[in-house]
Symmetry: C2
Subunit: 166 residues, 2 copies
DNA sequence: GTCCATGCAAACCTTTTGCACTATA
DNA sequence: TATAGTGCAAAAGGTTTGCATGGAC
């Protein structure tokens, strides 16, 4: 359980949220929050469980899930689904709170990037469809530089250009 | 089991794909393909199962899953996960094969829209990160016009503006 | 002291798999 | 006739829930 001053500040923020909601601040919640806030990665529940054990703590999986729910509700943590069959969590306390993801289909690396283009698109759909956006998800899947250099090629399957062949 | 000429053509396309792969064209595969190609919706496996029964057919759930795998592999059908805990499928045979989704957080309606902005973003990340995109997913969650007019408001939870409050 | 959280195990839900049987080519 | 598909049920895997116990306030 690392304890940078930054992570500490975020844990205090989470504690404040819990108190605001009238919920107890428990040791388990602090441990899970510390792990998530101290990491720059997109953590799976398994990752978190492993770090809990590495820190010499014993916290049930259900408690981890329940704490993650609270962290997500508090808006301090974001939940992601990169199509792996399980979810990943990352804290939102970087200087770039809103960012998009590049996901390498070969090695699974996740690269974060920022682009204001989505805001333009959001403004557009508001105008065109009367839709009021609250959040969005932009994920670009492909091959990262390293995998390209390693000569990896993604298999092409299926019919190509189905429309033309009708 | 509807049978517009359009859906028929698509089923033939799927049959061609199966033959190309040396796989048998079975009745079950044709029925599932017909349902997916005849629908303009984003169908869940449950939806498909229901339509199978409505058509007087009896097809096991496993076969539906296995056929959907083939449809996705053929590139004729797209798989989506809107965070509901299960997947949805839609055929890719509209005149706008690549499109993004607006998902209403209240009523669940899915609106499709097109925007070339993502291509600009993809070109950008290729230049900046050496990433080679193959596909992307842009989903914007919020309130559709109807729900706004109905006076629906999404609850604001969590700490607001966490960064400033550190 | 009250209320909520925790831990464990069981339940849940979607999706996948094993296997005996059937249908395609 | 050989090969692959189908249906059923069981398994798998991530996530949720019920309940008795323990901890926060």
């Amino acid at each position: 359980m690392s304890a940078t001053t930054k992570a500490d500040a975020y844990i205090r923020l989470f504690s404040r949220y819990l108190r605001e909601q009238g919920l107890p601040v428990t040791h388990q919640r602090e441990v899970v929050a510390d792990i998530v806030f101290s990491s720059g990665e997109h953590l799976s529940v398994d990752d978190i469980e492993r770090e809990v054990r590495a820190a010499g703590e014993r916290i049930g999986k259900a408690t981890i899930y329940r704490t993650l729910d609270l962290l997500v509700k508090s808006n301090l943590v974001g939940e992601h689904d990169f199509g792996e069959g399980f979810k990943r969590y990352e804290h939102r306390l970087s200087r770039e709170p809103i960012h998009e993801h590049l996901i390498c289909l070969h090695c699974g690396t996740v690269i974060e990037f920022q682009d204001s283009g989505v805001h333009r698109i959001e403004a557009l759909v508001t105008a065109e469809h009367g839709f009021r956006p609250t959040r969005h998800k932009l994920e670009i899947y492909g091959l990262c530089r390293e995998c390209q250099l390693a000569g990896i090629a993604l298999p092409r399957e299926g019919l190509t250009c189905p429309i033309d062949s009708v």
